[in-house]
């Protein structure tokens, strides 16, 4: 049976020593978020995930969701676990205290999300979708809508969904057909079919608040004619001064999908037949509303990839230390045993360290990016808010795409460590691979993320967003040039950074003339960018770790391991940037000069 131990020390290291979030939170006026409180929250969250939801992961996968007569049932134990999760206040961890939330920084959401995803990705889908609905309503809803829905979503007694996709439209929402007709009383009658709706129907909550994209009768064609509506499963009503779920609304689950992974998460076909809904935000501005919550949603998926990589690594590591097979190439290591544990082998180490260095570097990067959500929301200086928003906008497609691609690869490499046993369901390794696969696809397929990066984020404001990443890195390199010992890490890193600068200039220039050039370069460029960004985190982490060691810290293993992992990443993973650089420079021609018949 797979296990999970929440990486509490690693969270603390990144938050307190590397990012020093305490200072930032204090500056932002988030005075409740003291280091002590955050420490306690992380520990409690870790315990909850280890004890309550991780044990349901394998069984949930085996059993899956069931669908019968329009009713969806989650696997055994999910309802109980969800109730405990809700009662623990975890649903509203970062929600506004005005609606009953705990008001903790968004950064803490990412910490919690990683642990939940690592323990049970399917389980995490339900509160995850609610968080999306919460964000949409809190950003775009009227005060009345907020008062009505946000307390319930914060509490978790009601959950939420995002209903975007239709059979004929996924990425291109301009093709959307679902219709909303004014009912005359301020509400709308909404009809259409939505597919791939996660948490669209289930037995965990009393009500489900669907956020539905639809088109008004006189709306302009295409993407500019889409509006966003709130469509509850049960129409809210007041009873004894309390809001409760009332009459059943015309939105029903038609079936659930049979999927490769995240089987305990219900993926529904939702049929709307004159369902009652209310406009949220301005009419025809639905896409704009979606965009404002996309950063958070995509960051959430990135963290799923990361969490799965972490748990896959933990189990592979246990196995690699335990499993004895053959002897080390340089001679027996465990002479008292019939064979050496496979962790003695360079290639097994390569598998493990590739994952470890990704996970720890990506964790730091993900939290740095998450921190921007808090700065964007709370900083008083508009320039600071702008800078945070720039960095968030720039890094969102990078972390979404890279964390999920690398997360899947990590799950796969970890499974490889298991040999044939990895292919066996009970050991859990193959479930991580299957569960990870969807993260590369949903919430904007990774190819779309790459296009977003080169097509939208790079040119926006003449590349201003780029400054938010390139300047801190350039400054770090400049500041540490004199440190000869650090040069071992800094110099090779600076080379890769230089290549990224060059590639950025190349794409900006070529892409202006021919958009296909930007498109052809997009994926390798995104990967290159992600590697350099994670590398930057490793430099920062290694610098802190070295300082701790120099101070004579008694945690020599922990900090020593950080320095060594940094070295591994910089020398063994970061050089992939060279390949990406050459692919980018090869231009669009090798792709585009094929006629369709020549494929």
């Amino acid at each position: 049976m797979p296990t999970y131990t929440a990486p509490i020390d690693n969270f603390r290291f990144v938050l307190n020593d590397v990012l020093q979030v305490g200072d930032t939170f204090a500056k932002l006026g988030l005075t409740d978020a003291t280091p002590d409180l955050l420490d306690a929250v992380i520990e409690e969250a870790g315990k909850f995930c280890e004890n309550e939801i991780q044990p349901l992961n394998l069984s949930g996968d085996t059993e899956g969701c069931s669908f019968e007569n329009g009713v969806v049932r989650t696997p055994k134990g999910f309802k109980e676990a969800y109730d405990k999760f809700r009662e623990g206040g975890w649903v509203g961890l970062t929600a506004d205290p005005a609606y009953g939330g705990q008001g903790l920084p968004h950064t803490m959401s990412s910490v919690l999300d990683e642990m939940v995803s690592a323990s049970n990705t399917s389980f995490g889908m339900y509160p995850g979708l609610s968080a999306g609905a919460y964000r949409a309503i809190s950003l775009h809803g009227s005060q009345e809508q907020k008062n009505l829905y946000l307390p319930k979503l914060t509490d978790g007694i009601w959950s939420g969904t995002m209903c975007l996709t239709e059979p004929q439209c996924g990425t291109d929402l301009g093709l959307l057909r679902t219709k909303a007709v004014p009912a005359g009383d301020g509400s709308y009658k909404i009809s259409g079919t939505k597919i791939f709706i996660s948490a669209g129907e289930h037995d965990l909550t009393e009500n489900i608040i669907h956020l539905v994209l639809a088109r008004l009768p006189d709306a302009p064609a295409g993407i500019r004619g889409i509006s966003l509506f709130i469509v509850p499963k049960f129409l809210p009503k007041e009873e004894n001064g309390q809001v409760v779920a009332g009459a059943r609304n015309g939105i029903f689950c038609g079936s659930i999908e049979h999927k490769m992974g995240i089987k305990a998460s219900s993926t529904c076909v939702m049929n709307l037949d004159d369902a009652t809904g209310w406009l949220i935000g301005e009419r025809d501005k639905g896409m704009r509303a979606m965009f404002t919550m996309m950063n958070a949603a995509r960051l959430g998926v990135a963290i799923q990839g990361l969490g799965l990589a972490e748990v896959a690594y933990q189990n592979a590591l246990i196995y690699a230390k335990d499993r004895i097979q053959g002897r080390a190439l340089t001679g027996a290591q465990a002479k008292d045993k019939a064979a050496d544990p496979i962790i003695v082998h360079p290639d097994v180490r390569r598998n493990l360290l590739t994952v470890k260095s990704f996970v720890e570097g990506a964790r730091a990067l993900g939290l740095w990016v998450s921190l921007q959500l808090d700065i964007e929301e709370h900083a008083t200086d508009p320039k600071e808010r702008e800078a945070a928003n720039d960095l968030l906008a720039l890094m969102t497609p990078i972390v979404k795409s890279y964390f999920t691609d690398a997360g899947f690869e990590a799950a796969n490499s970890s499974m490889q460590v298991w040999g044939g046993h990895g292919y066996i369901h009970e050991n859990g390794a193959e479930q991580f691979v299957r569960d990870a696969r969807i993260t590369q696809i949903y919430e904007g397929a990774n190819g779309i993320q790459a296009l977003d990066l080169v097509g939208r984020k790079l040119p926006a404001n003449l590349g201003r967003s780029l400054r938010r990443f390139f300047h801190p890195v350039a400054k770090f390199i400049e500041d540490n040039k004199g440190d000869a010992e650090f040069g071992e890490l800094l110099l090779p890193y600076a080379k890769s950074f230089g290549k990224l600068q060059q590639a950025t200039g190349f794409i900006a220039q070529k892409g202006l003339v021919n958009p296909n050039e930007a498109g052809a370069a997009s994926s390798p460029y995104l990967r290159m960018f992600a590697l350099v960004a994670i590398g930057f985190m490793w430099l920062k982490m290694a610098k802190v770790a070295k300082a701790k060691l120099a101070e004579g810290s008694d945690r020599k293993d922990f900090y020593g391991s950080k320095v060594k992992t940094a070295r591994f990443f910089i020398t063994k993973t970061l050089p992939e940037t060279e390949t990406h650089f050459r692919t980018i420079m090869a231009g669009a021609k090798p792709l585009m000069d094929f006629e369709v018949d020549e494929f």
């Binding site: 003449l462 590349g463 201003r464 400054r467 350039a474 600068q501 200039g505």
Partner: protein, 785 residues
């Protein structure tokens, strides 16, 4: 054989109103003395107060009628009672008095008594036919008389309509045409003696049709102006912006006067109709920009200024809304067939466009032969007088004459005569590299340029470039001269342009082969707005400081190579020559500048300093400036003052005062003659050409910086400079005082270049500079941080 020319060495302008005074000013811009007379004023102590007051007012007018304030001294003022004798030695007398035929007749009678034999007399009338003006005059007067119709303001509006009568002597017409073209720089268009001549005749029809059509189509004012904008090549003021500019209260007068002079059958009469909105605007004092506003008005919303537009139906104002009209959006998306796409639409935008253009096109086509000999004059008149990017016939060619004729038929309008003559052929064609137009005889004829006019567009029709990339080309402009043309966006300087300069240097080699000289010039409105800031900010954003330094270094190398090339390099700037565009001219052997050239080292406006040798050259020139007191301090201070305040010359003449141009550099009054003059200049430098001697610099070093720095701090205290100005000025001061040097050291041009480069990169790493560059790119306006 061309008729003999008369000489014009002194000019008189009678009537010191807005037009007369400004015409007088413009004549002085050509270096020619002017007598300016008006009636006797009320003050018995100062009988010429009206004329002299007008000159005083000219000096305060913006945009300036004088290219240099010094020119005011060339005007002698007087009154029409005491000073008629001043006219006796004038070669050309321009009458610009009130539009009243009786008063004009009286004046002309007086002129007969004082003017010298053979002097030319013209009227600036815009409404009275020539044949009426010369009634009762002597035969000699009639021979010497013509109409020269200037447009307001005369210095800046290039059109001059020239009307000769039957009696006008051919050499009078010839002399005026030549003088107004070469000396005054006007685009002289020959018109027939008909009401409104060309530009106002067509222009009034266009404005009336546009107004009617906008009212009928149900568009908002801002929508109409968006449609009547880029796609048609009309000026950015838009149609209703133009009403506001001209003055809405004038319109009923001008249109009824025009109608009164035209036959009852003229189509203008049918188009003319009263607009309740215009009446209401006039009644309520909304007469345009000079009044409370007009079709547009600006209101204050706190600190923000809000632009509002009036509603055609309710006459209420609303904030100007972003425009989205399907036909217009489609037209804008497709630049090649934009106008046709627009006119093919079915929405209100398309209806408005058709309602405005159909009568305008038809009118233009029907009037060829009546108001001018050919369609070419009609197109020229509208382009030069109304600022249209394309003349009506060029516009009709864009949609195709066959398509247009079909449209007229389909929409129940008569097909204009000239469209039928065209029978599907275009109005213009290129035959064997020669531009031709369609005559009334149905045949094509060459479009002839005046002697001494050389246009790159003509060269391009006839030949292939010697070399070309995305931003620049090299052309053979004859006699062994190569022309380097910029054609990047706003002619901003980028690596492609630098590369093309390198190509030119390689191509011409030692100047002893097939190629002898290089001219740097183009046909665009602006010579160059300077370095491509988008590339600079991108490099900064990605922290590519090394590449940025390399970019600056490459520019310095290339400009240096131009300066010391073994052959003459002549720059021919026109319009804006800013930043790097100014610097390239400063590295040329000689400059032949269009009179309307606005030069400046404006880098501090975007938080940097001139990095491509601007500091080096201006400092070198000031050190050798004989007008300054001896020693380096005044030279350094003068260069510092010019660069730190980003001074831009308001004319080529003023560029000489600032030493952006040297005394020896030439000025061409007519834009169309610039390239030919530059080429001639280059060829004149070829025999025995030797590159210039480098500047040498003895500079004060750190000790010289204190005074400069104190001056800037004083400006900050006085509120004339900002905190970040101090940072930029300090960096500039380091360069101009020679860095870590003192008087005992002799610095080279390369030393100054190195200082420029370091200062430039240093500034690029600062937030203040980044903010300035971003604001300039986003808004086109400098940030004062």
């Amino acid at each position: 054989m061309a008729p003999a020319q008369r000489e014009i060495k002194k000019v008189a302008v009678i009537g010191a109103g807005v037009m007369g005074a400004a015409i007088a000013a413009h004549v002085t811009n050509a270096g020619i003395p002017v007598v300016l007379l008006d009636i006797v004023g009320k003050d018995p102590a100062d009988r010429t107060a009206i004329a002299s007051g007008a000159v005083a007012k000219l000096l305060k007018t913006e945009p300036a009628p004088f290219m240099s304030p010094r020119n005011a001294k060339l005007i002698t003022t007087g009154n029409l009672e005491d000073d008629l004798k001043l006219l006796a030695d004038c070669d050309w007398i321009v009458e610009a008095i009130i539009e009243n035929v009786k008063i004009k007749h009286d004046l002309y009678a007086k002129l007969e008594t004082v003017r010298k034999a053979g002097s030319i007399v013209t009227s600036n009338t815009s409404t009275i036919p020539l044949k009426n003006l010369i009634e009762g005059r002597s035969e000699a007067f009639q021979k010497d008389f013509a109409i020269t119709h200037f447009f307001n303001p005369p210095r800046y509006m290039r059109l001059l309509e020239l009307v000769s009568g039957k009696q006008t002597a051919p050499d009078v017409t010839q002399t005026l045409a030549r003088f107004c073209d070469v000396q005054l720089g006007k685009g002289v268009v020959r018109c027939h003696d008909t009401p409104g001549f060309i530009a106002n005749r067509i222009g009034m029809m266009w404005m009336q049709a546009g107004l009617n059509s906008a009212e009928d189509s149900g568009l908002a004012v801002e929508e109409a102006d968006a449609v009547a904008g880029k796609v048609m090549g009309f000026p950015s003021t838009g149609l209703f912006g133009l009403f506001d500019l001209v003055g809405i209260d004038l319109m009923p007068h001008v249109s009824s006067s025009m109608a009164g002079n035209l036959p009852k059958t003229d189509s203008y009469q049918t188009e003319l109709r009263e607009s309740p909105l215009i009446n209401k605007l006039i009644e309520t004092g909304y007469t345009g920009r000079k009044g409370k506003g007009g079709f547009y008005r600006m209101t204050k919303n706190g600190a923000a200024r809000l632009k509002e537009a009036v509603d055609f139906k309710t006459a209420e104002y609303h904030p100007v809304q972003p425009v989205s009209i399907a036909s217009l959006d489609a037209a804008l998306a497709d630049r090649k067939t934009g106008l046709k796409t627009l006119l093919s639409g079915t929405d209100k935008g398309a209806n408005f466009a058709w309602g405005m253009l159909a009568p305008t096109f038809a009118y233009s086509a029907d009037l060829v032969g009546e108001i001018a000999d050919t369609l070419v004059e009609v197109d020229e008149g509208m382009k030069l007088g109304y600022g249209w990017k394309f003349g009506p016939f060029e516009l009709m060619d864009q949609v195709g004459t066959a398509w247009l004729a079909d449209q007229y038929k389909a929409k129940g309008r008569a097909v204009p005569k000239l469209l039928e003559i065209a029978a599907g052929r275009s109005f213009y064609r290129v035959d064997g590299g020669q531009l031709q137009f369609l005559g009334l005889d149905g045949n094509y004829h060459d479009v002839k340029r005046a002697e001494g006019v050389l246009l790159l567009q003509d060269i391009k029709r006839k030949s292939q470039p010697l070399a070309k990339n995305g931003s620049a080309s090299l052309w053979d402009i004859g006699d062994g001269v190569v022309c380097l043309e910029f054609h990047s966006k706003a002619n901003s300087l980028d690596p492609d342009i630098m590369g093309m300069i390198g190509k030119a240097l390689a191509l011409i080699g030692d100047g002893k082969g097939a190629w002898k000289a290089l001219v740097i010039g183009n046909d665009a409105d602006n010579f160059s707005v300077g370095a491509n800031l988008g590339l600079v900010i991108f490099a900064i954003n990605v922290a590519l400081y090394d590449q940025l330094e390399e970019m600056i270094g490459t520019g310095q190398q290339i400009y240096k190579a131009l300066k010391y090339a073994p052959f003459p390099v002549v720059s021919a700037p026109a319009g804006r020559a800013l930043g790097g565009g100014c610097e390239i001219t400063m590295h040329s052997t000689a400059v032949q500048a269009y009179a309307e050239t606005y030069m400046g080292l404006v880098e501090v406006g975007v938080g940097v300093i001139p990095g491509w040798g601007g500091c080096k050259e201006l400092l070198g020139r000031q050190l050798e400036n004989p007008k300054l007191p001896k020693g380096p301090v005044p030279a350094v201070a003068t260069a510092f003052q010019t660069i730190s305040t980003a001074q831009v010359s308001k004319s080529a003449a003023q560029a000489k005062d600032l030493l952006y141009l040297r005394e020896s550099d030439g000025i061409t009054m007519n834009r169309d003659r610039l390239l030919a003059d530059a080429k001639a200049r280059a060829l004149s430098l070829v025999p025995g050409y030797a590159p210039p001697k480098p500047h040498e610099y003895k500079l004060p070093g750190p000790t010289g910086r204190t005074a400069l720095s104190m001056a800037v701090h004083d400006f900050v205290t006085a509120g004339k400079a900002t905190p970040y100005d101090v940072v930029v000025s300090d960096a500039l001061a380091v360069v101009l005082t020679g860095g870590d040097t003192d008087y005992t050291e002799l610095l080279t041009e390369d030393d100054i270049s190195t200082l420029e480069r370091k200062a430039f990169i240093g500034l690029c790493k600062q937030d203040g500079t980044i903010d300035r560059i971003e604001q300039m790119l986003n808004t086109g306006k400098p940030l004062r941080n």
